[in-house]
């Protein structure tokens, strides 16, 4: 069956092109399915050819010739310069549009990446100041850091932040 698939295109083209493909003959004598396919394609091609042959001979009416002639004369009366100008204008418009698009794109490329606000980086838990120096070390904004330092400087000896902060400073 796979072999037949390979033959199908050749069968169809040989019928449509009315060419003789000698290698097909051998296959067609052996394969009934391909013979049926060939007959089907032949009938299809013949139907279109018969229809084409049966088309009536038509004399173009005078009005068609008159219409074409007047349209052509009208087009011919248009100076070539005008046609060239129209082409040039179309080209200029296209170039302007391309420039506009490029400028917009370039502007988009050069615009600084918007900085994400620190508050959005911090989770709800971290925005709340905890009495732990370790937590303050993770502060992402300058305000939070400042608050942490203020608290450390004013913390008493028994304050957790003082103990943690001192231990940290000693370890440095």
């Amino acid at each position: 069956m796979n072999a037949c698939r390979k033959f199908r295109k050749r069968i169809a083209l040989s019928r449509a092109d009315e060419s003789n493909d000698a290698t097909l003959v051998g296959h067609l004598t052996e394969c009934a399915a391909c013979r049926a396919y060939a007959a089907e394609i032949s009938a299809l091609c013949d139907a279109h050819k018969t229809r084409a042959a049966a088309l009536p001979e038509i004399d173009a009416p005078a009005r068609l010739r008159q219409k074409v002639a007047s349209a052509i004369n009208e087009a011919s009366s248009t100076p070539w310069l005008y046609a060239s100008l129209r082409k040039a204008l179309a080209g200029a418009a296209a170039a302007a549009l391309a420039l506009l698009i490029f400028t917009f794109w370039n502007k988009q490329q050069q615009a600084p990446t918007p900085v994400e606000p620190a508050s959005s980086v911090l989770t709800d838990n971290t925005t709340e100041i905890k009495p732990s120096y370790a937590a303050y070390r993770n502060a992402f904004s300058a305000d939070e850091l400042e608050m942490a330092l203020d608290r450390y400087s004013s913390a008493g000896a028994d304050d957790e932040i003082y103990r943690v902060g001192t231990a940290f400073l000693n370890s440095q």
């Binding site: 169809a12 449509a16 088309l55 038509i58 074409v68 087009a75």
Partner: protein, 197 residues
């Protein structure tokens, strides 16, 4: 200017080479003379596509005007009539997009009756008309590129090499499109047979 000189009726296709070279230099009168050589055949082909006399006339007119506008692009590698037909197919494609051609009109029926055998029975004539309408419907349902190849092969009777030159692709591509088109047409035909049964 348009010439109504009856002597031009005697223009043979072989003479059109000289006309063509004049046309390509911008000679409008020569183009009108060239139109007289091809407009009948072109209208006949348009009739095959549109199946409507007035639509066919409009299509032929649009084709000839478009041909005049782009005559400088004709490179002489394919027959002039083939080139005209490929323009017509592009125009027809636009027509199909705008609206589907009307069903067979009375005028078309008459023209089909004229070509039929006078001795044929009404039943045979009906069958012929139905067959023609069905074939055209199948063609209309094909993708444009496939329709173009089938039309140029069976209706304009071009060889595959000529079609390749007219369409601007390789013979291999033409073969591939023709095969796909025939497969599609075969399936449509099979579907119709199933519906009838």
């Amino acid at each position: 200017m348009f010439s109504l000189n009856p002597a031009l009726n005697a223009i043979k296709l072989e003479d059109s080479t000289d006309l063509l070279s004049r046309v390509q230099q911008g000679d409008a009168e020569a183009f009108c003379d060239l139109c007289r050589v091809y407009d009948g055949r072109l209208l006949r082909q348009a009739m095959a596509l549109c199946q409507d006399a007035s639509l066919a006339e409009d299509l032929a007119q649009e084709t000839l005007i478009a041909a005049w506008k782009s005559i400088r692009r004709y490179n002489g590698r394919c027959r002039f009539f083939t080139w005209l037909c490929s323009i017509m197919l592009h125009r027809y494609r636009k027509l199909l997009r705008r609206k589907r051609p009307a069903a067979l009109t009375k005028e078309t029926e008459d023209s089909l009756l004229n070509v039929a055998d006078a001795a044929a029975s009404p039943a045979t004539l009906n069958e012929m008309k139905e067959q023609a309408a069905f074939l055209q419907k199948c063609l209309d349902n094909l993708p444009h590129k496939q329709r173009q190849i089938v039309y140029l092969r069976f209706y304009v009777e071009n060889s595959l090499e000529e079609i390749a030159l007219a369409v601007g692709c390789s013979v291999g591509t033409v073969k591939s499109r023709l095969f796909k088109a025939l497969e599609n047409l075969r399936k449509m035909r099979a579907l119709k047979t199933l519906n009838v049964e």
